[in-house]
Protein backbone atom coordinates (compact mmCIF):
# COMPACT_ATOMS: atom_id res chain seq x y z
CA UNK A 1 0.00 0.00 0.00
CA UNK A 2 1.50 3.28 -1.01
CA UNK A 3 1.61 6.35 1.10
CA UNK A 4 -0.83 8.12 -1.02
CA UNK A 5 -3.42 5.49 -0.63
CA UNK A 6 -2.90 5.49 3.07
CA UNK A 7 -3.43 9.14 3.24
CA UNK A 8 -6.52 8.83 1.20
CA UNK A 9 -7.81 6.23 3.50
CA UNK A 10 -7.05 8.36 6.49
CA UNK A 11 -8.81 11.05 4.66
CA UNK A 12 -11.81 8.86 4.22
CA UNK A 13 -11.97 8.08 7.90
CA UNK A 14 -11.62 11.71 8.76
CA UNK A 15 -14.24 12.59 6.26
CA UNK A 16 -16.48 10.00 7.74
CA UNK A 17 -15.79 11.25 11.25
CA UNK A 18 -16.71 14.73 10.19
CA UNK A 19 -19.86 13.83 8.29
CA UNK A 20 -23.17 14.92 9.71
CA UNK A 21 -24.47 11.38 9.90
CA UNK A 22 -21.52 10.25 11.94
CA UNK A 23 -21.66 13.21 14.20
CA UNK A 24 -25.35 12.90 14.74
CA UNK A 25 -24.88 9.33 15.90
CA UNK A 26 -21.53 9.24 17.63
CA UNK A 27 -21.24 12.94 18.46
CA UNK A 28 -17.46 12.92 18.87
CA UNK A 29 -14.73 11.76 16.61
CA UNK A 30 -12.01 9.47 17.82
CA UNK A 31 -11.14 11.04 21.13
CA UNK A 32 -7.59 12.12 21.27
CA UNK A 33 -7.54 14.50 24.18
CA UNK A 34 -8.88 14.39 27.75
CA UNK A 35 -12.08 16.23 27.09
CA UNK A 36 -12.93 14.04 24.12
CA UNK A 37 -12.25 10.90 26.06
CA UNK A 38 -14.51 12.02 28.84
CA UNK A 39 -17.22 12.87 26.38
CA UNK A 40 -16.97 9.55 24.67
CA UNK A 41 -17.74 7.76 27.90
CA UNK A 42 -20.28 10.24 29.08
CA UNK A 43 -22.23 10.53 25.89
CA UNK A 44 -22.47 6.90 24.96
CA UNK A 45 -25.50 5.01 26.11
CA UNK A 46 -23.40 1.92 26.60
CA UNK A 47 -20.23 3.35 27.97
CA UNK A 48 -21.81 5.72 30.45
CA UNK A 49 -22.29 2.76 32.74
CA UNK A 50 -18.73 3.58 33.59
CA UNK A 51 -17.60 6.64 35.46
CA UNK A 52 -15.43 8.99 33.50
CA UNK A 53 -12.40 8.56 35.65
CA UNK A 54 -11.41 5.61 37.78
CA UNK A 55 -8.94 4.80 40.51
CA UNK A 56 -5.86 3.20 39.09
CA UNK A 57 -6.20 -0.17 40.77
CA UNK A 58 -9.76 -0.54 39.58
CA UNK A 59 -8.59 -0.87 36.05
CA UNK A 60 -6.22 -3.68 36.89
CA UNK A 61 -7.43 -7.12 35.98
CA UNK A 62 -5.60 -8.46 38.98
CA UNK A 63 -8.06 -6.60 41.12
CA UNK A 64 -11.35 -6.97 39.29
CA UNK A 65 -10.80 -10.22 37.41
CA UNK A 66 -13.32 -8.68 35.03
CA UNK A 67 -15.78 -11.30 36.27
CA UNK A 68 -18.73 -8.97 36.63
CA UNK A 69 -18.25 -7.41 33.25
CA UNK A 70 -17.85 -10.80 31.66
CA UNK A 71 -20.98 -12.04 33.34
CA UNK A 72 -22.90 -9.20 31.77
CA UNK A 73 -21.26 -9.78 28.44
CA UNK A 74 -22.06 -13.47 28.53
CA UNK A 75 -25.62 -12.57 29.35
CA UNK A 76 -25.68 -10.51 26.17
CA UNK A 77 -24.19 -13.40 24.21
CA UNK A 78 -26.84 -15.67 25.67
CA UNK A 79 -29.57 -13.24 24.73
CA UNK A 80 -28.44 -13.01 21.15
CA UNK A 81 -27.81 -16.71 20.64
CA UNK A 82 -31.00 -17.45 22.53
CA UNK A 83 -33.06 -15.27 20.24
CA UNK A 84 -31.48 -16.97 17.25
CA UNK A 85 -32.26 -20.39 18.63
CA UNK A 86 -35.86 -19.38 19.17
CA UNK A 87 -36.30 -19.13 15.43
CA UNK A 88 -35.86 -22.86 15.08
CA UNK A 89 -37.06 -24.23 18.35
CA UNK A 90 -40.62 -25.22 19.12
CA UNK A 91 -41.36 -25.99 22.75
CA UNK A 92 -43.61 -28.99 22.23
CA UNK A 93 -43.00 -32.59 23.07
CA UNK A 94 -43.39 -33.48 19.44
CA UNK A 95 -40.77 -31.14 18.07
CA UNK A 96 -38.46 -29.94 20.82
CA UNK A 97 -36.02 -32.79 20.57
CA UNK A 98 -35.93 -33.02 16.81
CA UNK A 99 -35.57 -29.27 16.48
CA UNK A 100 -32.52 -29.39 18.67
CA UNK A 101 -31.24 -32.33 16.70
CA UNK A 102 -31.67 -30.37 13.49
CA UNK A 103 -29.76 -27.45 14.92
CA UNK A 104 -26.79 -29.73 14.82
CA UNK A 105 -27.66 -31.35 11.53
CA UNK A 106 -29.16 -28.91 9.09
CA UNK A 107 -29.27 -25.39 10.49
CA UNK A 108 -26.30 -23.42 9.23
CA UNK A 109 -24.06 -22.48 12.10
CA UNK A 110 -26.05 -24.55 14.53
CA UNK A 111 -23.04 -24.00 16.73
CA UNK A 112 -25.20 -21.27 18.26
CA UNK A 113 -26.61 -23.95 20.46
CA UNK A 114 -23.17 -24.92 21.70
CA UNK A 115 -22.29 -21.31 22.34
CA UNK A 116 -25.53 -20.82 24.18
CA UNK A 117 -25.06 -23.85 26.34
CA UNK A 118 -21.43 -23.34 27.20
CA UNK A 119 -21.97 -19.65 27.75
CA UNK A 120 -24.69 -20.53 30.20
CA UNK A 121 -22.30 -22.74 32.13
CA UNK A 122 -19.63 -20.12 31.93
CA UNK A 123 -21.96 -17.45 33.17
CA UNK A 124 -22.76 -19.45 36.28
CA UNK A 125 -19.05 -19.74 36.92
CA UNK A 126 -18.24 -16.09 36.25
CA UNK A 127 -21.08 -14.97 38.46
CA UNK A 128 -19.77 -17.15 41.27
CA UNK A 129 -16.28 -15.82 40.76
CA UNK A 130 -17.57 -12.30 40.67
CA UNK A 131 -19.25 -12.88 43.98
CA UNK A 132 -16.07 -14.38 45.34
CA UNK A 133 -14.07 -11.37 44.23
CA UNK A 134 -16.57 -8.97 45.72
CA UNK A 135 -16.39 -10.80 48.97
CA UNK A 136 -12.62 -10.97 49.06
CA UNK A 137 -12.28 -7.24 48.50
CA UNK A 138 -14.90 -6.51 51.13
CA UNK A 139 -16.95 -4.72 48.56
CA UNK A 140 -20.24 -5.69 50.18
CA UNK A 141 -19.61 -3.47 53.14
CA UNK A 142 -21.53 -0.23 53.66
CA UNK A 143 -22.76 1.50 51.64
CA UNK A 144 -22.96 -1.43 49.25
CA UNK A 145 -25.03 -3.83 51.34
CA UNK A 146 -28.09 -3.47 49.17
CA UNK A 147 -26.20 -3.98 45.97
CA UNK A 148 -24.72 -7.16 47.39
CA UNK A 149 -28.24 -8.35 48.01
CA UNK A 150 -29.22 -7.48 44.46
CA UNK A 151 -26.14 -9.41 43.42
CA UNK A 152 -27.30 -12.45 45.33
CA UNK A 153 -30.66 -12.19 43.62
CA UNK A 154 -28.92 -11.98 40.27
CA UNK A 155 -26.96 -15.10 41.17
CA UNK A 156 -30.18 -16.93 41.92
CA UNK A 157 -31.74 -15.72 38.70
CA UNK A 158 -28.71 -16.85 36.77
CA UNK A 159 -29.09 -20.32 38.23
CA UNK A 160 -32.80 -20.34 37.50
CA UNK A 161 -32.21 -19.24 33.93
CA UNK A 162 -29.71 -21.98 33.44
CA UNK A 163 -31.98 -24.49 35.15
CA UNK A 164 -35.03 -23.64 33.04
CA UNK A 165 -32.94 -23.78 29.89
CA UNK A 166 -31.66 -27.20 30.84
CA UNK A 167 -35.02 -28.80 30.07
CA UNK A 168 -35.49 -27.42 26.59
CA UNK A 169 -33.45 -29.97 24.56
CA UNK A 170 -36.00 -32.49 25.85
CA UNK A 171 -33.56 -35.35 26.00
CA UNK A 172 -32.92 -37.81 28.75
CA UNK A 173 -30.34 -35.54 30.31
CA UNK A 174 -32.81 -32.69 30.39
CA UNK A 175 -35.92 -34.41 31.61
CA UNK A 176 -34.21 -36.27 34.39
CA UNK A 177 -32.10 -33.38 35.58
CA UNK A 178 -35.25 -31.31 35.85
CA UNK A 179 -37.16 -34.16 37.44
CA UNK A 180 -34.51 -34.54 40.11
CA UNK A 181 -34.20 -30.80 40.51
CA UNK A 182 -37.90 -30.13 40.83
CA UNK A 183 -38.54 -33.13 43.02
CA UNK A 184 -37.00 -31.14 45.81
CA UNK A 185 -39.84 -28.65 45.50
CA UNK A 186 -42.22 -31.43 46.52
CA UNK A 187 -40.73 -31.26 49.96
CA UNK A 188 -41.32 -27.57 50.49
CA UNK A 189 -42.82 -27.20 53.93
CA UNK A 190 -46.58 -26.68 53.62
CA UNK A 191 -46.47 -25.84 49.92
CA UNK A 192 -45.11 -29.13 48.62
CA UNK A 193 -47.22 -32.25 48.90
CA UNK A 194 -44.40 -34.21 50.46
CA UNK A 195 -43.17 -31.42 52.62
CA UNK A 196 -43.60 -31.28 56.36
CA UNK A 197 -46.89 -29.69 57.24
CA UNK A 198 -48.61 -30.44 53.95
CA UNK A 199 -50.57 -33.17 55.65
CA UNK A 200 -51.79 -30.62 58.16
CA UNK A 201 -53.32 -28.57 55.40
CA UNK A 202 -56.39 -30.65 55.06
CA UNK A 203 -59.92 -30.29 56.21
CA UNK A 204 -61.63 -33.49 57.11
CA UNK A 205 -60.84 -35.95 54.38
CA UNK A 206 -60.09 -33.25 51.87
CA UNK A 207 -56.43 -32.94 51.24
CA UNK A 208 -55.68 -29.45 50.07
CA UNK A 209 -52.02 -29.80 49.18
CA UNK A 210 -51.44 -32.71 46.87
CA UNK A 211 -49.46 -33.49 43.74
CA UNK A 212 -52.01 -31.60 41.68
CA UNK A 213 -51.97 -28.39 43.65
CA UNK A 214 -48.58 -27.90 45.20
CA UNK A 215 -45.74 -25.60 44.36
CA UNK A 216 -44.08 -28.11 42.10
CA UNK A 217 -47.26 -28.30 40.09
CA UNK A 218 -47.23 -24.54 39.66
CA UNK A 219 -43.72 -24.83 38.36
CA UNK A 220 -44.31 -27.77 36.04
CA UNK A 221 -47.93 -27.25 35.12
CA UNK A 222 -48.44 -30.93 35.77
CA UNK A 223 -47.72 -33.72 38.14
CA UNK A 224 -44.57 -34.67 36.33
CA UNK A 225 -42.22 -33.22 33.79
CA UNK A 226 -44.29 -33.27 30.64
CA UNK A 227 -45.61 -31.08 27.89
CA UNK A 228 -46.85 -28.34 30.19
CA UNK A 229 -43.54 -28.26 32.03
CA UNK A 230 -41.68 -27.86 28.78
CA UNK A 231 -43.81 -24.91 27.80
CA UNK A 232 -43.59 -23.30 31.21
CA UNK A 233 -39.87 -23.66 31.38
CA UNK A 234 -39.61 -22.27 27.89
CA UNK A 235 -41.64 -19.22 28.74
CA UNK A 236 -39.77 -18.67 31.96
CA UNK A 237 -36.46 -19.20 30.24
CA UNK A 238 -37.12 -16.92 27.30
CA UNK A 239 -39.33 -14.23 28.76
CA UNK A 240 -39.96 -14.52 32.48
CA UNK A 241 -36.53 -14.71 34.02
CA UNK A 242 -34.74 -12.55 31.43
CA UNK A 243 -37.31 -9.85 32.11
CA UNK A 244 -36.66 -10.00 35.84
CA UNK A 245 -32.92 -10.34 35.57
CA UNK A 246 -32.69 -7.30 33.29
CA UNK A 247 -34.56 -5.21 35.83
CA UNK A 248 -32.26 -6.36 38.59
CA UNK A 249 -29.22 -5.88 36.42
CA UNK A 250 -30.27 -2.32 35.79
CA UNK A 251 -30.62 -1.78 39.51
CA UNK A 252 -27.29 -3.46 40.10
CA UNK A 253 -25.40 -1.27 37.64
CA UNK A 254 -27.18 1.85 38.71
CA UNK A 255 -26.36 1.17 42.29
CA UNK A 256 -22.71 0.50 41.53
CA UNK A 257 -22.44 4.01 40.21
CA UNK A 258 -24.61 5.53 42.90
CA UNK A 259 -22.76 3.70 45.64
CA UNK A 260 -19.53 5.25 44.52
CA UNK A 261 -18.27 2.99 41.84
CA UNK A 262 -15.75 0.29 42.46
CA UNK A 263 -14.41 -0.04 45.97
CA UNK A 264 -11.22 1.67 46.80
CA UNK A 265 -9.07 1.34 49.85
CA UNK A 266 -9.13 4.40 52.02
Amino acid sequence: MSNKQKEKKGGLLTWLGNSQVWKSIIRSGIPRERRGRMFSVLNSVFLHLHPVRMPRHAVKLKYTWCAGGLSFYIFCVLTITGILLMFYYRPTVEYAYTDIMDLGEQVPLGIMREIHRWAAHLMVITVWIHMFRVFMTGSYKPPREFNWMVGVILLVLTLLLSFTGYLLPWDQLAIWAITVGTNMARATPFLGHEGPGAALLSIGDINLVHAGSDIRFALLGGRFVGEAALLRFYVLHCIGFPFIIIIFMAIHFWRIRKDGGITTPV
Partner: protein, 355 residues
Protein backbone atom coordinates in the same frame (compact mmCIF):
# COMPACT_ATOMS: atom_id res chain seq x y z
CA UNK B 1 -10.41 -37.36 52.61
CA UNK B 2 -13.19 -35.08 53.72
CA UNK B 3 -11.96 -35.42 57.25
CA UNK B 4 -8.55 -34.33 56.10
CA UNK B 5 -10.01 -31.32 54.34
CA UNK B 6 -12.11 -30.43 57.33
CA UNK B 7 -9.20 -30.81 59.72
CA UNK B 8 -6.76 -28.80 57.67
CA UNK B 9 -9.26 -26.27 56.42
CA UNK B 10 -9.23 -23.98 59.39
CA UNK B 11 -5.48 -24.10 59.52
CA UNK B 12 -5.30 -22.94 55.95
CA UNK B 13 -8.01 -20.36 56.46
CA UNK B 14 -7.69 -19.66 60.20
CA UNK B 15 -10.81 -18.08 61.60
CA UNK B 16 -9.19 -16.82 64.77
CA UNK B 17 -5.83 -16.02 66.30
CA UNK B 18 -5.29 -19.47 67.66
CA UNK B 19 -5.58 -21.12 64.30
CA UNK B 20 -3.66 -18.22 62.80
CA UNK B 21 -0.80 -18.93 65.10
CA UNK B 22 -0.66 -22.49 63.92
CA UNK B 23 -1.08 -21.40 60.34
CA UNK B 24 2.03 -19.30 60.72
CA UNK B 25 3.84 -22.04 62.56
CA UNK B 26 3.22 -24.54 59.79
CA UNK B 27 4.07 -21.81 57.29
CA UNK B 28 0.87 -22.63 55.48
CA UNK B 29 0.77 -19.12 54.12
CA UNK B 30 3.48 -20.22 51.74
CA UNK B 31 0.72 -21.65 49.61
CA UNK B 32 -0.19 -18.13 48.62
CA UNK B 33 3.14 -17.34 47.00
CA UNK B 34 4.00 -17.78 43.35
CA UNK B 35 5.79 -20.98 44.15
CA UNK B 36 2.83 -22.31 46.07
CA UNK B 37 0.55 -21.39 43.24
CA UNK B 38 2.67 -23.14 40.68
CA UNK B 39 2.81 -26.18 42.91
CA UNK B 40 -0.97 -26.28 43.24
CA UNK B 41 -1.36 -25.82 39.51
CA UNK B 42 1.16 -28.54 38.80
CA UNK B 43 -0.52 -30.79 41.30
CA UNK B 44 -3.92 -30.32 39.76
CA UNK B 45 -2.54 -30.64 36.25
CA UNK B 46 -0.68 -33.82 37.04
CA UNK B 47 -3.75 -35.24 38.68
CA UNK B 48 -5.93 -34.54 35.67
CA UNK B 49 -3.36 -35.46 33.06
CA UNK B 50 -2.55 -38.63 34.87
CA UNK B 51 -6.21 -39.21 35.50
CA UNK B 52 -7.06 -38.89 31.83
CA UNK B 53 -5.01 -41.99 31.14
CA UNK B 54 -7.57 -43.90 33.11
CA UNK B 55 -10.58 -44.85 31.04
CA UNK B 56 -13.10 -44.48 33.82
CA UNK B 57 -11.81 -41.09 34.83
CA UNK B 58 -11.70 -39.88 31.27
CA UNK B 59 -15.22 -40.97 30.68
CA UNK B 60 -16.53 -38.85 33.50
CA UNK B 61 -14.20 -35.86 33.31
CA UNK B 62 -14.70 -35.36 29.59
CA UNK B 63 -18.45 -35.76 29.60
CA UNK B 64 -19.48 -32.52 27.89
CA UNK B 65 -21.53 -31.24 30.76
CA UNK B 66 -18.78 -32.05 33.24
CA UNK B 67 -16.15 -30.03 31.44
CA UNK B 68 -17.33 -26.78 33.01
CA UNK B 69 -16.80 -28.37 36.39
CA UNK B 70 -13.26 -29.33 35.53
CA UNK B 71 -12.83 -25.72 34.50
CA UNK B 72 -14.48 -24.66 37.69
CA UNK B 73 -11.94 -26.60 39.75
CA UNK B 74 -9.07 -24.84 38.04
CA UNK B 75 -10.70 -21.45 38.11
CA UNK B 76 -11.69 -21.70 41.74
CA UNK B 77 -8.26 -22.90 42.69
CA UNK B 78 -6.63 -20.15 40.69
CA UNK B 79 -8.77 -17.35 41.99
CA UNK B 80 -8.60 -18.56 45.55
CA UNK B 81 -4.87 -18.57 45.22
CA UNK B 82 -4.84 -15.19 43.48
CA UNK B 83 -7.03 -13.52 46.06
CA UNK B 84 -5.18 -15.07 48.94
CA UNK B 85 -1.86 -14.16 47.45
CA UNK B 86 -2.86 -10.54 47.22
CA UNK B 87 -4.40 -10.76 50.65
CA UNK B 88 -1.20 -12.10 52.22
CA UNK B 89 0.84 -9.45 50.50
CA UNK B 90 -1.50 -6.79 51.77
CA UNK B 91 -1.45 -8.31 55.24
CA UNK B 92 2.29 -7.96 55.30
CA UNK B 93 2.11 -4.37 54.13
CA UNK B 94 -0.44 -3.55 56.78
CA UNK B 95 1.75 -5.22 59.38
CA UNK B 96 4.54 -2.98 58.21
CA UNK B 97 2.20 -0.01 58.34
CA UNK B 98 2.39 0.44 54.64
CA UNK B 99 -0.51 1.29 52.41
CA UNK B 100 -2.12 -1.67 50.69
CA UNK B 101 -1.27 -2.54 47.13
CA UNK B 102 -4.52 -1.20 45.82
CA UNK B 103 -4.03 2.18 47.42
CA UNK B 104 -3.56 5.16 45.23
CA UNK B 105 -3.97 8.79 45.90
CA UNK B 106 -7.71 9.55 45.52
CA UNK B 107 -6.86 12.27 43.07
CA UNK B 108 -4.62 10.04 41.02
CA UNK B 109 -7.20 8.64 38.68
CA UNK B 110 -7.13 7.33 35.18
CA UNK B 111 -9.59 7.97 32.44
CA UNK B 112 -11.99 5.19 31.68
CA UNK B 113 -11.48 5.79 28.01
CA UNK B 114 -9.45 4.16 26.72
CA UNK B 115 -7.81 2.07 29.47
CA UNK B 116 -10.76 0.32 31.01
CA UNK B 117 -12.87 0.29 27.92
CA UNK B 118 -10.02 -1.22 26.02
CA UNK B 119 -9.20 -4.02 28.39
CA UNK B 120 -12.86 -4.75 28.67
CA UNK B 121 -13.07 -5.02 24.92
CA UNK B 122 -10.11 -7.36 24.91
CA UNK B 123 -11.63 -9.42 27.68
CA UNK B 124 -14.87 -9.70 25.77
CA UNK B 125 -13.10 -10.70 22.60
CA UNK B 126 -11.07 -13.30 24.44
CA UNK B 127 -14.17 -14.58 26.18
CA UNK B 128 -15.91 -14.91 22.84
CA UNK B 129 -12.89 -16.68 21.44
CA UNK B 130 -12.99 -19.06 24.37
CA UNK B 131 -16.68 -19.72 23.85
CA UNK B 132 -16.34 -20.31 20.15
CA UNK B 133 -13.36 -22.62 20.56
CA UNK B 134 -15.13 -24.47 23.33
CA UNK B 135 -18.23 -24.79 21.20
CA UNK B 136 -16.34 -26.08 18.20
CA UNK B 137 -14.31 -28.52 20.22
CA UNK B 138 -17.11 -29.82 22.34
CA UNK B 139 -20.57 -30.44 20.91
CA UNK B 140 -23.37 -29.75 23.31
CA UNK B 141 -24.74 -33.01 24.66
CA UNK B 142 -27.94 -34.42 23.22
CA UNK B 143 -28.86 -37.78 24.63
CA UNK B 144 -31.76 -40.00 23.68
CA UNK B 145 -35.18 -38.39 23.47
CA UNK B 146 -36.83 -37.80 26.81
CA UNK B 147 -38.33 -40.98 28.13
CA UNK B 148 -40.31 -40.69 31.31
CA UNK B 149 -40.37 -44.44 31.81
CA UNK B 150 -36.63 -44.96 31.71
CA UNK B 151 -34.70 -43.12 34.32
CA UNK B 152 -30.98 -43.11 33.80
CA UNK B 153 -28.95 -44.36 36.69
CA UNK B 154 -27.73 -42.10 38.21
CA UNK B 155 -30.17 -39.27 37.50
CA UNK B 156 -28.41 -36.07 38.27
CA UNK B 157 -29.62 -32.52 38.61
CA UNK B 158 -27.79 -29.81 36.64
CA UNK B 159 -24.28 -29.61 38.00
CA UNK B 160 -24.71 -26.38 39.93
CA UNK B 161 -27.41 -28.03 42.01
CA UNK B 162 -25.42 -31.17 42.69
CA UNK B 163 -24.40 -29.77 46.06
CA UNK B 164 -28.03 -29.87 47.04
CA UNK B 165 -28.46 -33.34 45.64
CA UNK B 166 -25.47 -34.48 47.62
CA UNK B 167 -27.03 -33.10 50.76
CA UNK B 168 -30.12 -35.17 49.98
CA UNK B 169 -28.12 -38.22 50.99
CA UNK B 170 -27.91 -36.97 54.49
CA UNK B 171 -31.01 -34.88 54.88
CA UNK B 172 -34.64 -35.09 53.99
CA UNK B 173 -35.55 -33.22 50.83
CA UNK B 174 -37.27 -30.44 52.69
CA UNK B 175 -34.02 -29.61 54.46
CA UNK B 176 -31.56 -30.30 51.70
CA UNK B 177 -33.71 -29.05 48.88
CA UNK B 178 -35.62 -26.22 50.45
CA UNK B 179 -34.36 -25.15 53.84
CA UNK B 180 -30.66 -25.17 53.07
CA UNK B 181 -30.86 -23.29 49.79
CA UNK B 182 -33.12 -20.73 51.43
CA UNK B 183 -30.76 -20.35 54.34
CA UNK B 184 -27.84 -20.13 51.96
CA UNK B 185 -29.47 -17.21 50.20
CA UNK B 186 -30.50 -15.56 53.42
CA UNK B 187 -27.03 -16.14 54.76
CA UNK B 188 -25.43 -14.65 51.68
CA UNK B 189 -27.69 -11.65 51.78
CA UNK B 190 -27.09 -11.22 55.47
CA UNK B 191 -23.32 -11.13 55.13
CA UNK B 192 -23.06 -7.32 54.91
CA UNK B 193 -25.18 -6.97 58.00
CA UNK B 194 -23.41 -9.60 60.05
CA UNK B 195 -19.92 -8.56 59.13
CA UNK B 196 -19.59 -5.29 60.99
CA UNK B 197 -15.88 -5.21 60.48
CA UNK B 198 -15.15 -1.90 58.81
CA UNK B 199 -11.76 -2.95 57.56
CA UNK B 200 -10.85 -4.62 54.36
CA UNK B 201 -12.92 -2.55 51.96
CA UNK B 202 -11.47 -2.20 48.55
CA UNK B 203 -8.47 -4.40 48.86
CA UNK B 204 -7.63 -8.06 49.33
CA UNK B 205 -6.86 -8.85 52.94
CA UNK B 206 -7.06 -11.74 55.26
CA UNK B 207 -5.63 -10.92 58.61
CA UNK B 208 -8.01 -8.08 59.25
CA UNK B 209 -11.05 -10.22 58.61
CA UNK B 210 -9.95 -13.73 59.40
CA UNK B 211 -13.27 -15.02 60.60
CA UNK B 212 -15.34 -13.61 57.77
CA UNK B 213 -13.05 -14.95 55.08
CA UNK B 214 -12.58 -18.24 56.79
CA UNK B 215 -16.28 -18.92 57.21
CA UNK B 216 -17.05 -17.74 53.72
CA UNK B 217 -14.34 -19.96 52.32
CA UNK B 218 -15.75 -22.84 54.27
CA UNK B 219 -19.21 -22.33 52.93
CA UNK B 220 -18.04 -21.64 49.41
CA UNK B 221 -15.22 -24.08 48.95
CA UNK B 222 -16.34 -26.97 51.10
CA UNK B 223 -20.09 -26.85 51.32
CA UNK B 224 -20.63 -25.71 47.77
CA UNK B 225 -17.80 -26.37 45.33
CA UNK B 226 -16.54 -29.53 46.97
CA UNK B 227 -20.01 -31.02 47.16
CA UNK B 228 -20.55 -30.23 43.51
CA UNK B 229 -17.29 -31.91 42.61
CA UNK B 230 -18.19 -34.94 44.66
CA UNK B 231 -21.68 -35.05 43.20
CA UNK B 232 -20.32 -34.84 39.68
CA UNK B 233 -17.29 -37.04 39.74
CA UNK B 234 -17.72 -39.36 42.63
CA UNK B 235 -21.37 -40.28 42.63
CA UNK B 236 -22.31 -43.11 40.34
CA UNK B 237 -25.23 -45.47 39.81
CA UNK B 238 -27.65 -45.66 42.70
CA UNK B 239 -25.86 -42.58 44.01
CA UNK B 240 -23.16 -44.85 45.34
CA UNK B 241 -19.79 -43.39 46.11
CA UNK B 242 -17.12 -44.25 43.56
CA UNK B 243 -13.45 -43.41 43.65
CA UNK B 244 -12.20 -41.17 40.82
CA UNK B 245 -10.72 -44.09 38.91
CA UNK B 246 -13.35 -46.60 39.71
CA UNK B 247 -15.64 -48.11 37.12
CA UNK B 248 -19.26 -47.06 37.63
CA UNK B 249 -20.61 -50.50 38.14
CA UNK B 250 -24.35 -50.51 38.43
CA UNK B 251 -24.14 -53.56 40.63
CA UNK B 252 -22.00 -51.99 43.26
CA UNK B 253 -23.59 -52.31 46.63
CA UNK B 254 -23.04 -50.27 49.70
CA UNK B 255 -24.47 -51.09 53.06
CA UNK B 256 -27.12 -48.43 53.23
CA UNK B 257 -29.10 -49.65 56.18
CA UNK B 258 -29.42 -46.85 58.64
CA UNK B 259 -31.49 -46.40 61.71
CA UNK B 260 -33.08 -43.51 63.46
CA UNK B 261 -32.12 -41.98 66.74
CA UNK B 262 -35.36 -43.23 68.25
CA UNK B 263 -34.27 -46.77 67.36
CA UNK B 264 -31.04 -46.18 69.12
CA UNK B 265 -32.74 -44.90 72.21
CA UNK B 266 -35.60 -47.33 72.51
CA UNK B 267 -34.47 -50.44 70.75
CA UNK B 268 -30.78 -50.55 71.40
CA UNK B 269 -30.38 -48.78 74.67
CA UNK B 270 -33.70 -49.36 76.42
CA UNK B 271 -34.33 -52.66 74.67
CA UNK B 272 -38.02 -51.94 74.44
CA UNK B 273 -40.39 -51.28 71.56
CA UNK B 274 -40.98 -47.93 70.00
CA UNK B 275 -43.66 -45.97 71.80
CA UNK B 276 -46.76 -45.26 69.79
CA UNK B 277 -46.96 -41.61 70.58
CA UNK B 278 -44.94 -39.78 67.97
CA UNK B 279 -43.75 -37.01 70.24
CA UNK B 280 -42.68 -39.47 72.89
CA UNK B 281 -40.94 -41.56 70.29
CA UNK B 282 -38.97 -38.66 68.94
CA UNK B 283 -38.39 -36.88 72.19
CA UNK B 284 -34.70 -37.66 72.16
CA UNK B 285 -34.31 -36.12 68.75
CA UNK B 286 -36.25 -33.04 69.74
CA UNK B 287 -34.09 -32.54 72.80
CA UNK B 288 -30.98 -32.91 70.75
CA UNK B 289 -32.07 -30.47 68.07
CA UNK B 290 -33.36 -27.94 70.54
CA UNK B 291 -30.20 -28.32 72.51
CA UNK B 292 -28.14 -27.77 69.40
CA UNK B 293 -29.88 -24.57 68.54
CA UNK B 294 -30.74 -23.24 71.98
CA UNK B 295 -27.85 -24.23 74.21
CA UNK B 296 -24.91 -24.02 71.87
CA UNK B 297 -25.33 -20.34 70.93
CA UNK B 298 -25.21 -18.99 74.51
CA UNK B 299 -22.50 -21.47 75.26
CA UNK B 300 -20.39 -20.16 72.43
CA UNK B 301 -21.28 -16.62 73.38
CA UNK B 302 -19.88 -17.25 76.81
CA UNK B 303 -16.79 -19.07 75.69
CA UNK B 304 -15.17 -19.17 72.30
CA UNK B 305 -17.04 -16.37 70.63
CA UNK B 306 -17.25 -14.02 73.56
CA UNK B 307 -15.61 -11.19 71.75
CA UNK B 308 -17.72 -11.64 68.68
CA UNK B 309 -20.89 -11.74 70.75
CA UNK B 310 -19.99 -8.47 72.38
CA UNK B 311 -19.21 -6.92 69.07
CA UNK B 312 -22.31 -8.08 67.25
CA UNK B 313 -24.92 -7.71 69.90
CA UNK B 314 -27.79 -10.05 70.58
CA UNK B 315 -29.68 -10.11 67.36
CA UNK B 316 -26.85 -10.21 64.91
CA UNK B 317 -25.09 -12.79 66.97
CA UNK B 318 -28.17 -15.04 67.01
CA UNK B 319 -28.61 -14.86 63.29
CA UNK B 320 -24.95 -15.43 62.75
CA UNK B 321 -24.62 -18.35 65.05
CA UNK B 322 -27.76 -20.04 63.77
CA UNK B 323 -26.54 -19.78 60.23
CA UNK B 324 -23.22 -21.18 61.28
CA UNK B 325 -24.90 -23.98 63.20
CA UNK B 326 -26.93 -24.88 60.17
CA UNK B 327 -23.83 -24.88 58.03
CA UNK B 328 -22.03 -27.06 60.52
CA UNK B 329 -24.99 -29.42 60.77
CA UNK B 330 -24.16 -30.81 57.37
CA UNK B 331 -20.72 -32.17 58.25
CA UNK B 332 -22.06 -33.22 61.61
CA UNK B 333 -24.84 -35.20 60.05
CA UNK B 334 -22.40 -36.69 57.57
CA UNK B 335 -20.22 -37.95 60.35
CA UNK B 336 -23.17 -39.26 62.31
CA UNK B 337 -24.20 -41.19 59.27
CA UNK B 338 -20.78 -42.61 58.61
CA UNK B 339 -19.96 -43.45 62.16
CA UNK B 340 -23.27 -44.52 63.61
CA UNK B 341 -25.45 -45.27 60.60
CA UNK B 342 -27.77 -42.66 61.93
CA UNK B 343 -30.58 -41.98 59.54
CA UNK B 344 -32.69 -39.34 61.16
CA UNK B 345 -32.43 -37.53 64.42
CA UNK B 346 -36.10 -36.83 64.34
CA UNK B 347 -38.08 -39.20 62.17
CA UNK B 348 -41.74 -38.48 61.64
CA UNK B 349 -42.35 -39.84 58.18
CA UNK B 350 -46.09 -39.62 58.85
CA UNK B 351 -45.84 -35.87 58.43
CA UNK B 352 -42.80 -35.83 56.18
CA UNK B 353 -40.92 -34.32 59.05
CA UNK B 354 -37.51 -35.88 59.24
CA UNK B 355 -34.32 -34.24 60.41
Amino acid sequence: MLTFILLTFFFIFPPNDWFYKWNKKFKLDLIWTNKGGILILLGLLTFFLFGLTDENFKLIALKPDNVPIVGLIFLVAFFTWLSMKQATENDKRIDNNEKVNEYHDPDDKVLTWPDLVYIELIALVLCTVLLVVWSIALPAPLEQPANPTLSPNPSKAPWYFLGLQEMLVYFDPWIAGVLFPTLMLIGLMAIPYLDTNKEGVGYYSFKQRKMAVSFFMFGWLVLWVLLIVIGTFLRGPNWNFFGPFEYWDIHKLEPLTNINLSDYIYIIWFRSGLPENILLREIGGFILILGYFLILPPLFAKTMLKKLYQKLGNFRYSVFIILILFAMSLPIKMYLRWLFNLKYIIAIPEYFFNI
